[in-house]
Symmetry: C3
Subunit: 190 residues, 3 copies
Protein backbone atom coordinates (compact mmCIF):
# COMPACT_ATOMS: atom_id res chain seq x y z
CA UNK A 1 0.00 0.00 0.00
CA UNK A 2 1.07 3.55 -0.55
CA UNK A 3 1.85 5.61 2.56
CA UNK A 4 3.79 5.32 5.76
CA UNK A 5 2.87 3.03 8.64
CA UNK A 6 4.17 4.43 11.94
CA UNK A 7 3.52 2.55 15.18
CA UNK A 8 3.66 4.79 18.26
CA UNK A 9 4.01 3.38 21.76
CA UNK A 10 4.86 4.44 25.28
CA UNK A 11 4.16 3.35 28.85
CA UNK A 12 1.08 4.79 30.57
CA UNK A 13 1.72 8.33 31.75
CA UNK A 14 4.52 9.17 29.34
CA UNK A 15 2.26 11.58 27.46
CA UNK A 16 1.98 9.63 24.22
CA UNK A 17 -1.50 10.93 23.33
CA UNK A 18 -0.47 14.57 23.70
CA UNK A 19 2.62 14.09 21.56
CA UNK A 20 0.66 12.24 18.85
CA UNK A 21 -2.21 14.74 18.70
CA UNK A 22 0.04 17.79 18.64
CA UNK A 23 2.31 16.33 15.97
CA UNK A 24 -0.66 15.27 13.84
CA UNK A 25 -2.09 18.81 13.92
CA UNK A 26 1.29 20.27 13.05
CA UNK A 27 1.94 18.09 10.02
CA UNK A 28 -1.70 18.25 8.86
CA UNK A 29 -1.16 22.02 8.59
CA UNK A 30 1.86 21.25 6.43
CA UNK A 31 -0.34 19.16 4.17
CA UNK A 32 0.70 15.72 5.39
CA UNK A 33 -2.45 13.86 6.41
CA UNK A 34 -2.38 10.88 8.77
CA UNK A 35 -5.09 8.55 9.94
CA UNK A 36 -4.76 7.62 13.63
CA UNK A 37 -5.77 4.09 14.52
CA UNK A 38 -5.92 2.85 18.07
CA UNK A 39 -5.06 -0.83 17.73
CA UNK A 40 -7.16 -1.91 20.72
CA UNK A 41 -10.27 -0.08 19.47
CA UNK A 42 -9.73 -1.34 15.94
CA UNK A 43 -9.48 -4.92 17.15
CA UNK A 44 -12.64 -4.48 19.21
CA UNK A 45 -14.50 -3.31 16.10
CA UNK A 46 -13.27 -6.37 14.21
CA UNK A 47 -14.51 -8.60 17.05
CA UNK A 48 -17.84 -6.76 17.35
CA UNK A 49 -18.42 -7.04 13.59
CA UNK A 50 -18.13 -10.82 13.99
CA UNK A 51 -20.63 -10.69 16.85
CA UNK A 52 -18.07 -12.06 19.31
CA UNK A 53 -18.29 -9.20 21.81
CA UNK A 54 -20.53 -6.29 22.72
CA UNK A 55 -18.23 -4.30 25.00
CA UNK A 56 -14.50 -3.86 25.55
CA UNK A 57 -14.46 -5.82 28.83
CA UNK A 58 -15.44 -8.98 26.97
CA UNK A 59 -12.30 -8.75 24.83
CA UNK A 60 -9.92 -9.94 27.49
CA UNK A 61 -12.17 -12.91 28.31
CA UNK A 62 -11.93 -14.31 24.80
CA UNK A 63 -10.07 -17.57 24.27
CA UNK A 64 -6.36 -17.10 23.60
CA UNK A 65 -6.61 -18.58 20.11
CA UNK A 66 -9.58 -16.38 19.22
CA UNK A 67 -7.67 -13.32 20.45
CA UNK A 68 -4.71 -14.30 18.31
CA UNK A 69 -6.89 -14.68 15.23
CA UNK A 70 -8.54 -11.30 15.86
CA UNK A 71 -5.16 -9.61 16.39
CA UNK A 72 -3.92 -10.99 13.11
CA UNK A 73 -7.09 -10.03 11.26
CA UNK A 74 -6.95 -6.48 12.64
CA UNK A 75 -3.30 -6.16 11.64
CA UNK A 76 -4.02 -7.42 8.12
CA UNK A 77 -6.87 -4.92 7.73
CA UNK A 78 -4.58 -2.10 8.84
CA UNK A 79 -1.92 -3.17 6.34
CA UNK A 80 -4.36 -2.70 3.47
CA UNK A 81 -5.21 0.91 4.36
CA UNK A 82 -4.03 3.39 1.74
CA UNK A 83 -2.26 6.54 2.87
CA UNK A 84 -0.31 7.42 6.00
CA UNK A 85 -1.33 5.62 9.17
CA UNK A 86 -0.37 6.05 12.81
CA UNK A 87 -1.01 2.92 14.86
CA UNK A 88 -1.38 3.84 18.52
CA UNK A 89 -0.64 0.80 20.68
CA UNK A 90 1.80 -0.70 23.20
CA UNK A 91 5.23 -2.24 22.79
CA UNK A 92 4.38 -4.44 25.77
CA UNK A 93 1.41 -4.54 28.11
CA UNK A 94 1.51 -5.21 31.83
CA UNK A 95 -0.79 -8.05 32.85
CA UNK A 96 -1.21 -10.09 36.03
CA UNK A 97 1.00 -12.76 34.48
CA UNK A 98 3.75 -10.36 33.41
CA UNK A 99 4.55 -8.37 30.28
CA UNK A 100 2.76 -9.35 27.09
CA UNK A 101 4.07 -8.43 23.63
CA UNK A 102 1.84 -5.73 22.18
CA UNK A 103 3.05 -6.56 18.70
CA UNK A 104 3.66 -10.32 18.61
CA UNK A 105 5.10 -11.93 15.49
CA UNK A 106 1.71 -12.47 13.78
CA UNK A 107 0.80 -8.79 14.28
CA UNK A 108 4.09 -7.06 13.45
CA UNK A 109 4.70 -9.12 10.29
CA UNK A 110 1.16 -8.38 9.09
CA UNK A 111 1.54 -4.63 9.61
CA UNK A 112 5.16 -4.42 8.42
CA UNK A 113 5.58 -0.88 9.77
CA UNK A 114 8.12 1.65 8.50
CA UNK A 115 8.91 3.02 11.95
CA UNK A 116 8.27 1.98 15.55
CA UNK A 117 8.35 4.98 17.88
CA UNK A 118 9.00 4.60 21.60
CA UNK A 119 7.92 7.69 23.51
CA UNK A 120 10.05 7.64 26.65
CA UNK A 121 11.08 9.83 29.53
CA UNK A 122 12.70 9.54 32.96
CA UNK A 123 10.98 7.00 35.20
CA UNK A 124 10.50 9.56 37.97
CA UNK A 125 8.80 12.00 35.62
CA UNK A 126 6.37 9.29 34.55
CA UNK A 127 5.62 8.46 38.17
CA UNK A 128 4.84 12.09 38.98
CA UNK A 129 2.65 12.47 35.88
CA UNK A 130 0.67 9.41 36.92
CA UNK A 131 0.23 10.76 40.45
CA UNK A 132 -0.96 14.12 39.05
CA UNK A 133 -3.40 12.70 36.51
CA UNK A 134 -6.76 12.43 38.26
CA UNK A 135 -8.68 11.90 35.02
CA UNK A 136 -7.62 8.28 34.70
CA UNK A 137 -7.42 5.41 37.14
CA UNK A 138 -3.96 3.94 36.75
CA UNK A 139 -2.12 1.24 38.62
CA UNK A 140 0.29 2.83 41.01
CA UNK A 141 3.75 1.45 40.42
CA UNK A 142 7.13 2.36 41.75
CA UNK A 143 9.69 4.16 39.66
CA UNK A 144 11.69 0.92 39.66
CA UNK A 145 8.86 -0.94 38.01
CA UNK A 146 8.42 1.77 35.39
CA UNK A 147 12.13 1.41 34.63
CA UNK A 148 11.66 -2.34 34.20
CA UNK A 149 8.82 -1.73 31.75
CA UNK A 150 10.78 0.81 29.69
CA UNK A 151 13.86 -1.44 29.57
CA UNK A 152 11.78 -4.39 28.39
CA UNK A 153 10.06 -2.22 25.78
CA UNK A 154 13.40 -1.45 24.15
CA UNK A 155 14.14 -5.16 23.99
CA UNK A 156 10.74 -5.93 22.49
CA UNK A 157 11.26 -3.09 19.99
CA UNK A 158 14.58 -4.54 18.85
CA UNK A 159 12.99 -7.93 18.26
CA UNK A 160 10.19 -6.35 16.19
CA UNK A 161 12.76 -4.45 14.13
CA UNK A 162 14.86 -7.57 13.60
CA UNK A 163 11.85 -9.35 12.14
CA UNK A 164 10.43 -6.60 9.93
CA UNK A 165 13.24 -4.18 9.11
CA UNK A 166 11.39 -1.22 10.62
CA UNK A 167 13.43 1.45 12.39
CA UNK A 168 13.19 2.05 16.14
CA UNK A 169 12.96 5.73 17.02
CA UNK A 170 13.16 6.86 20.64
CA UNK A 171 11.37 10.17 21.19
CA UNK A 172 11.99 11.66 24.62
CA UNK A 173 9.00 13.55 26.03
CA UNK A 174 10.72 15.32 28.92
CA UNK A 175 9.14 17.87 31.28
CA UNK A 176 8.96 21.34 29.70
CA UNK A 177 10.19 19.95 26.37
CA UNK A 178 6.97 18.84 24.67
CA UNK A 179 7.86 21.00 21.65
CA UNK A 180 11.02 19.01 21.14
CA UNK A 181 9.15 15.69 21.32
CA UNK A 182 6.51 16.97 18.89
CA UNK A 183 9.16 18.14 16.44
CA UNK A 184 11.00 14.82 16.61
CA UNK A 185 7.80 12.88 15.96
CA UNK A 186 6.79 15.29 13.17
CA UNK A 187 10.13 14.69 11.44
CA UNK A 188 9.36 10.97 11.44
CA UNK A 189 5.84 11.47 10.10
CA UNK A 190 6.77 13.91 7.29
CA UNK B 1 -2.81 -29.84 25.54
CA UNK B 2 -4.70 -28.98 28.70
CA UNK B 3 -2.72 -27.27 31.46
CA UNK B 4 -0.26 -24.43 31.90
CA UNK B 5 3.29 -24.45 30.60
CA UNK B 6 5.49 -22.19 32.74
CA UNK B 7 9.19 -21.83 31.94
CA UNK B 8 11.28 -20.73 34.92
CA UNK B 9 14.79 -19.33 34.51
CA UNK B 10 17.43 -17.41 36.44
CA UNK B 11 21.19 -16.97 36.46
CA UNK B 12 23.21 -19.38 38.64
CA UNK B 13 23.05 -18.37 42.30
CA UNK B 14 19.79 -16.44 42.13
CA UNK B 15 18.03 -19.15 44.13
CA UNK B 16 15.74 -20.45 41.38
CA UNK B 17 15.57 -24.01 42.72
CA UNK B 18 14.52 -22.89 46.20
CA UNK B 19 11.82 -20.61 44.82
CA UNK B 20 10.47 -23.33 42.50
CA UNK B 21 10.43 -26.08 45.12
CA UNK B 22 8.80 -23.94 47.81
CA UNK B 23 6.15 -22.60 45.42
CA UNK B 24 5.40 -26.10 44.09
CA UNK B 25 4.83 -27.40 47.65
CA UNK B 26 2.61 -24.45 48.46
CA UNK B 27 0.32 -24.78 45.48
CA UNK B 28 0.28 -28.59 45.66
CA UNK B 29 -1.26 -28.14 49.11
CA UNK B 30 -3.87 -25.93 47.47
CA UNK B 31 -4.67 -28.76 45.06
CA UNK B 32 -2.81 -27.41 42.02
CA UNK B 33 -0.42 -30.12 40.85
CA UNK B 34 2.60 -29.33 38.65
CA UNK B 35 5.15 -31.58 37.04
CA UNK B 36 8.69 -30.15 37.17
CA UNK B 37 10.84 -30.87 34.14
CA UNK B 38 14.49 -29.91 33.96
CA UNK B 39 15.03 -29.23 30.26
CA UNK B 40 18.68 -30.31 30.29
CA UNK B 41 17.91 -33.63 32.00
CA UNK B 42 14.93 -34.23 29.75
CA UNK B 43 17.02 -33.64 26.64
CA UNK B 44 19.67 -36.00 27.97
CA UNK B 45 17.05 -38.72 28.39
CA UNK B 46 15.90 -38.18 24.82
CA UNK B 47 19.51 -38.48 23.60
CA UNK B 48 20.19 -41.53 25.79
CA UNK B 49 17.04 -43.25 24.52
CA UNK B 50 18.44 -42.87 20.99
CA UNK B 51 21.74 -44.37 22.17
CA UNK B 52 23.62 -41.19 21.29
CA UNK B 53 25.11 -40.61 24.75
CA UNK B 54 25.73 -42.43 28.00
CA UNK B 55 26.52 -39.52 30.30
CA UNK B 56 25.82 -35.80 30.51
CA UNK B 57 29.36 -34.77 29.53
CA UNK B 58 28.89 -36.31 26.10
CA UNK B 59 25.94 -33.98 25.42
CA UNK B 60 28.04 -30.90 24.77
CA UNK B 61 30.32 -32.81 22.41
CA UNK B 62 27.49 -33.70 20.05
CA UNK B 63 27.43 -32.12 16.60
CA UNK B 64 25.58 -28.79 16.51
CA UNK B 65 22.92 -30.12 14.14
CA UNK B 66 22.33 -33.19 16.29
CA UNK B 67 21.98 -30.96 19.37
CA UNK B 68 19.45 -28.83 17.55
CA UNK B 69 17.40 -31.87 16.52
CA UNK B 70 17.46 -33.21 20.10
CA UNK B 71 16.45 -29.83 21.53
CA UNK B 72 13.51 -29.67 19.18
CA UNK B 73 12.48 -33.25 19.88
CA UNK B 74 12.63 -32.66 23.64
CA UNK B 75 10.55 -29.48 23.30
CA UNK B 76 7.95 -31.28 21.20
CA UNK B 77 7.67 -34.08 23.74
CA UNK B 78 7.17 -31.53 26.52
CA UNK B 79 4.46 -29.78 24.54
CA UNK B 80 2.41 -32.99 24.43
CA UNK B 81 2.37 -33.50 28.20
CA UNK B 82 -1.08 -33.15 29.71
CA UNK B 83 -1.51 -31.07 32.84
CA UNK B 84 0.52 -28.26 34.37
CA UNK B 85 4.23 -28.27 33.67
CA UNK B 86 7.13 -26.23 34.99
CA UNK B 87 10.12 -26.24 32.64
CA UNK B 88 13.27 -25.46 34.60
CA UNK B 89 15.91 -24.10 32.22
CA UNK B 90 17.96 -21.03 31.25
CA UNK B 91 17.03 -17.89 29.32
CA UNK B 92 20.64 -17.82 28.14
CA UNK B 93 23.66 -19.92 29.01
CA UNK B 94 27.22 -18.69 29.41
CA UNK B 95 29.66 -20.58 27.20
CA UNK B 96 33.28 -20.02 26.20
CA UNK B 97 32.03 -18.42 22.99
CA UNK B 98 29.53 -16.11 24.69
CA UNK B 99 25.87 -16.29 25.65
CA UNK B 100 23.79 -18.99 24.01
CA UNK B 101 19.98 -18.80 23.77
CA UNK B 102 18.51 -21.33 26.17
CA UNK B 103 15.24 -21.29 24.26
CA UNK B 104 16.11 -20.75 20.59
CA UNK B 105 13.34 -20.36 18.03
CA UNK B 106 12.93 -24.11 17.39
CA UNK B 107 12.54 -24.79 21.13
CA UNK B 108 10.32 -21.90 22.21
CA UNK B 109 7.88 -22.31 19.30
CA UNK B 110 7.60 -26.04 20.02
CA UNK B 111 6.85 -25.49 23.71
CA UNK B 112 4.64 -22.40 23.21
CA UNK B 113 4.69 -21.56 26.93
CA UNK B 114 2.05 -19.53 28.75
CA UNK B 115 4.55 -17.68 30.92
CA UNK B 116 8.32 -17.21 31.01
CA UNK B 117 9.52 -16.38 34.52
CA UNK B 118 12.83 -14.61 35.14
CA UNK B 119 13.96 -15.03 38.74
CA UNK B 120 16.21 -12.03 39.36
CA UNK B 121 17.88 -10.13 42.15
CA UNK B 122 20.61 -7.55 42.66
CA UNK B 123 23.90 -8.52 41.04
CA UNK B 124 25.78 -8.09 44.30
CA UNK B 125 23.41 -10.41 46.15
CA UNK B 126 23.96 -13.08 43.50
CA UNK B 127 27.72 -12.68 43.79
CA UNK B 128 27.59 -13.12 47.56
CA UNK B 129 25.32 -16.15 47.28
CA UNK B 130 27.76 -17.76 44.86
CA UNK B 131 30.67 -17.06 47.16
CA UNK B 132 28.76 -18.58 50.09
CA UNK B 133 27.58 -21.70 48.26
CA UNK B 134 30.21 -24.35 48.83
CA UNK B 135 27.99 -27.19 47.61
CA UNK B 136 28.48 -26.33 43.94
CA UNK B 137 31.49 -25.41 41.88
CA UNK B 138 30.56 -22.26 40.02
CA UNK B 139 32.56 -19.96 37.80
CA UNK B 140 33.55 -16.91 39.76
CA UNK B 141 32.41 -13.82 37.94
CA UNK B 142 32.36 -10.20 38.86
CA UNK B 143 29.16 -8.39 39.73
CA UNK B 144 29.54 -6.51 36.42
CA UNK B 145 29.43 -9.73 34.46
CA UNK B 146 26.36 -10.94 36.37
CA UNK B 147 24.69 -7.65 35.43
CA UNK B 148 25.57 -8.27 31.79
CA UNK B 149 23.98 -11.71 31.97
CA UNK B 150 20.78 -10.45 33.61
CA UNK B 151 20.46 -7.59 31.12
CA UNK B 152 20.86 -9.96 28.17
CA UNK B 153 18.35 -12.38 29.70
CA UNK B 154 15.66 -9.70 29.64
CA UNK B 155 16.40 -9.08 25.98
CA UNK B 156 16.26 -12.79 25.16
CA UNK B 157 13.00 -13.03 27.11
CA UNK B 158 11.42 -10.23 25.08
CA UNK B 159 12.34 -11.97 21.84
CA UNK B 160 10.82 -15.25 23.05
CA UNK B 161 7.63 -13.41 24.03
CA UNK B 162 7.47 -11.62 20.68
CA UNK B 163 7.56 -14.95 18.88
CA UNK B 164 5.13 -16.95 21.03
CA UNK B 165 2.85 -14.50 22.82
CA UNK B 166 3.88 -15.78 26.27
CA UNK B 167 4.11 -13.27 29.10
CA UNK B 168 7.42 -12.34 30.75
CA UNK B 169 7.17 -12.26 34.54
CA UNK B 170 10.06 -10.93 36.60
CA UNK B 171 10.10 -12.44 40.10
CA UNK B 172 12.60 -10.77 42.42
CA UNK B 173 14.18 -13.17 44.92
CA UNK B 174 15.78 -10.62 47.25
CA UNK B 175 17.63 -11.36 50.49
CA UNK B 176 15.20 -11.99 53.39
CA UNK B 177 12.22 -11.86 51.00
CA UNK B 178 11.96 -15.47 49.80
CA UNK B 179 8.31 -15.53 50.93
CA UNK B 180 7.52 -12.70 48.55
CA UNK B 181 9.22 -14.45 45.62
CA UNK B 182 7.39 -17.70 46.43
CA UNK B 183 4.04 -15.93 46.60
CA UNK B 184 4.64 -14.16 43.28
CA UNK B 185 5.58 -17.42 41.58
CA UNK B 186 2.61 -19.20 43.18
CA UNK B 187 0.25 -16.57 41.80
CA UNK B 188 1.58 -17.33 38.32
CA UNK B 189 1.24 -21.08 38.78
CA UNK B 190 -2.30 -21.04 40.20
CA UNK C 1 30.14 -24.94 4.58
CA UNK C 2 33.29 -25.79 6.50
CA UNK C 3 34.71 -23.03 8.68
CA UNK C 4 33.55 -20.55 11.27
CA UNK C 5 31.34 -17.56 10.51
CA UNK C 6 31.97 -14.78 13.05
CA UNK C 7 30.05 -11.51 12.81
CA UNK C 8 31.84 -8.58 14.48
CA UNK C 9 30.03 -5.36 15.34
CA UNK C 10 30.43 -2.24 17.45
CA UNK C 11 29.23 1.35 17.49
CA UNK C 12 31.33 3.94 15.59
CA UNK C 13 34.41 4.90 17.60
CA UNK C 14 34.61 1.77 19.73
CA UNK C 15 37.76 0.68 17.88
CA UNK C 16 36.31 -2.34 16.12
CA UNK C 17 38.66 -2.13 13.10
CA UNK C 18 41.78 -2.05 15.26
CA UNK C 19 40.64 -5.03 17.32
CA UNK C 20 39.73 -7.05 14.21
CA UNK C 21 42.97 -6.31 12.33
CA UNK C 22 45.21 -7.01 15.31
CA UNK C 23 43.41 -10.24 16.17
CA UNK C 24 43.49 -11.41 12.54
CA UNK C 25 47.27 -10.88 12.36
CA UNK C 26 47.76 -12.71 15.65
CA UNK C 27 45.81 -15.81 14.70
CA UNK C 28 47.14 -15.83 11.12
CA UNK C 29 50.59 -16.20 12.69
CA UNK C 30 49.19 -19.18 14.59
CA UNK C 31 48.09 -20.71 11.30
CA UNK C 32 44.37 -19.89 11.54
CA UNK C 33 43.42 -18.00 8.39
CA UNK C 34 40.32 -15.79 8.20
CA UNK C 35 38.80 -13.88 5.35
CA UNK C 36 37.45 -10.46 6.40
CA UNK C 37 34.28 -9.34 4.64
CA UNK C 38 32.78 -5.92 5.13
CA UNK C 39 29.07 -6.53 4.69
CA UNK C 40 28.34 -3.06 3.29
CA UNK C 41 31.12 -3.32 0.69
CA UNK C 42 30.12 -6.85 -0.21
CA UNK C 43 26.50 -5.80 -0.75
CA UNK C 44 27.66 -2.90 -2.89
CA UNK C 45 29.63 -5.30 -5.11
CA UNK C 46 26.54 -7.50 -5.46
CA UNK C 47 24.48 -4.44 -6.47
CA UNK C 48 27.17 -3.14 -8.84
CA UNK C 49 27.45 -6.56 -10.50
CA UNK C 50 23.74 -6.30 -11.28
CA UNK C 51 24.30 -2.82 -12.71
CA UNK C 52 22.00 -1.26 -10.11
CA UNK C 53 24.55 1.21 -8.72
CA UNK C 54 27.88 2.78 -9.62
CA UNK C 55 28.88 4.28 -6.27
CA UNK C 56 28.14 3.71 -2.60
CA UNK C 57 25.92 6.78 -2.26
CA UNK C 58 23.39 5.28 -4.63
CA UNK C 59 22.92 2.31 -2.31
CA UNK C 60 20.81 4.14 0.23
CA UNK C 61 18.57 5.55 -2.49
CA UNK C 62 17.52 2.12 -3.71
CA UNK C 63 13.94 1.01 -3.18
CA UNK C 64 13.37 -0.73 0.16
CA UNK C 65 12.39 -4.00 -1.49
CA UNK C 66 15.44 -3.95 -3.76
CA UNK C 67 17.67 -3.29 -0.73
CA UNK C 68 16.09 -6.23 1.05
CA UNK C 69 16.66 -8.52 -1.91
CA UNK C 70 20.30 -7.40 -2.19
CA UNK C 71 20.88 -7.87 1.54
CA UNK C 72 19.54 -11.39 1.30
CA UNK C 73 21.56 -12.20 -1.80
CA UNK C 74 24.76 -10.89 -0.20
CA UNK C 75 24.10 -12.93 2.95
CA UNK C 76 23.47 -16.08 0.92
CA UNK C 77 26.71 -15.59 -1.02
CA UNK C 78 28.62 -15.18 2.25
CA UNK C 79 27.07 -18.35 3.63
CA UNK C 80 28.52 -20.38 0.75
CA UNK C 81 32.12 -19.25 1.33
CA UNK C 82 34.38 -22.07 2.42
CA UNK C 83 36.76 -21.48 5.32
CA UNK C 84 36.72 -19.09 8.23
CA UNK C 85 34.99 -15.76 7.66
CA UNK C 86 34.76 -12.57 9.68
CA UNK C 87 31.75 -10.45 8.72
CA UNK C 88 32.38 -6.83 9.69
CA UNK C 89 29.03 -5.04 10.04
CA UNK C 90 26.65 -3.37 12.50
CA UNK C 91 24.23 -4.80 15.03
CA UNK C 92 22.08 -1.73 14.41
CA UNK C 93 22.62 1.39 12.34
CA UNK C 94 21.60 4.91 13.27
CA UNK C 95 19.43 6.55 10.59
CA UNK C 96 17.30 9.67 10.49
CA UNK C 97 14.27 7.50 11.24
CA UNK C 98 15.86 5.70 14.17
CA UNK C 99 17.84 2.50 14.63
CA UNK C 100 17.76 -0.02 11.80
CA UNK C 101 18.58 -3.71 12.31
CA UNK C 102 21.95 -4.40 10.72
CA UNK C 103 21.15 -8.10 10.56
CA UNK C 104 17.41 -8.40 9.94
CA UNK C 105 15.77 -11.82 9.88
CA UNK C 106 16.44 -12.45 6.16
CA UNK C 107 20.16 -11.67 6.61
CA UNK C 108 20.92 -13.41 9.89
CA UNK C 109 19.09 -16.64 8.92
CA UNK C 110 20.95 -16.72 5.60
CA UNK C 111 24.35 -16.28 7.24
CA UNK C 112 23.62 -18.52 10.26
CA UNK C 113 26.72 -17.31 12.11
CA UNK C 114 28.53 -19.24 14.82
CA UNK C 115 29.24 -16.18 16.94
CA UNK C 116 28.09 -12.56 17.04
CA UNK C 117 30.69 -10.35 18.69
CA UNK C 118 29.75 -6.99 20.22
CA UNK C 119 32.82 -4.81 20.71
CA UNK C 120 31.84 -2.45 23.53
CA UNK C 121 33.33 0.01 25.96
CA UNK C 122 32.23 2.81 28.29
CA UNK C 123 30.08 5.42 26.56
CA UNK C 124 32.38 8.23 27.71
CA UNK C 125 35.44 6.53 26.25
CA UNK C 126 33.67 6.20 22.91
CA UNK C 127 32.73 9.87 22.98
CA UNK C 128 36.33 10.91 23.62
CA UNK C 129 37.64 8.61 20.88
CA UNK C 130 35.20 10.18 18.41
CA UNK C 131 36.24 13.67 19.44
CA UNK C 132 39.92 12.74 19.00
CA UNK C 133 39.54 11.03 15.63
CA UNK C 134 40.08 13.70 12.98
CA UNK C 135 40.45 11.18 10.17
CA UNK C 136 36.73 10.52 9.92
CA UNK C 137 33.69 12.75 9.90
CA UNK C 138 31.34 11.32 12.48
CA UNK C 139 28.05 12.55 13.85
CA UNK C 140 28.64 14.10 17.21
CA UNK C 141 26.38 12.50 19.76
CA UNK C 142 26.12 12.80 23.49
CA UNK C 143 27.30 10.04 25.79
CA UNK C 144 23.64 9.41 26.61
CA UNK C 145 22.86 8.66 23.00
CA UNK C 146 25.84 6.32 22.70
CA UNK C 147 24.49 4.48 25.75
CA UNK C 148 21.10 4.17 24.05
CA UNK C 149 22.76 2.68 20.99
CA UNK C 150 24.82 0.16 22.96
CA UNK C 151 21.78 -0.90 25.03
CA UNK C 152 19.70 -1.45 21.90
CA UNK C 153 22.53 -3.39 20.27
CA UNK C 154 22.47 -5.93 23.09
CA UNK C 155 18.72 -6.35 22.58
CA UNK C 156 19.14 -6.78 18.82
CA UNK C 157 21.94 -9.28 19.47
CA UNK C 158 19.70 -11.37 21.72
CA UNK C 159 17.00 -11.51 19.05
CA UNK C 160 19.53 -12.62 16.41
CA UNK C 161 20.80 -15.33 18.77
CA UNK C 162 17.26 -16.50 19.56
CA UNK C 163 16.61 -17.00 15.86
CA UNK C 164 19.86 -18.66 14.80
CA UNK C 165 21.42 -20.26 17.87
CA UNK C 166 24.64 -18.24 17.50
CA UNK C 167 26.39 -17.12 20.68
CA UNK C 168 26.66 -13.46 21.71
CA UNK C 169 30.14 -12.53 22.88
CA UNK C 170 30.79 -9.13 24.44
CA UNK C 171 34.41 -8.04 23.97
CA UNK C 172 35.30 -4.93 25.96
CA UNK C 173 37.82 -2.67 24.21
CA UNK C 174 38.71 -0.41 27.14
CA UNK C 175 41.35 2.34 27.15
CA UNK C 176 44.87 0.94 27.61
CA UNK C 177 43.51 -2.64 27.36
CA UNK C 178 43.58 -3.30 23.62
CA UNK C 179 45.68 -6.44 24.24
CA UNK C 180 42.91 -7.88 26.37
CA UNK C 181 40.28 -7.19 23.69
CA UNK C 182 42.51 -8.71 21.00
CA UNK C 183 43.11 -11.82 23.09
CA UNK C 184 39.39 -12.25 23.77
CA UNK C 185 38.55 -11.93 20.09
CA UNK C 186 41.40 -14.26 19.14
CA UNK C 187 40.04 -16.91 21.50
CA UNK C 188 36.72 -16.72 19.65
CA UNK C 189 38.38 -16.94 16.24
CA UNK C 190 40.68 -19.88 17.03
Amino acid sequence: MVGKKVIITGVPGVGKTTVINTAMKKIAMEGVPYQNINFGNFMFEVAAAEGLVQDRDQMRKLDRHVQKRLQKLAAEKISTIDGNVIIDTHTSVKTQNGFLAGLPEWVITAIMPDVLVLVETDNDQILIRRLSDKSRVRDMESSKFIAEHQVLNRAFAASYAMLTGCTVKIVVNADFLLDKAVEELSAILR
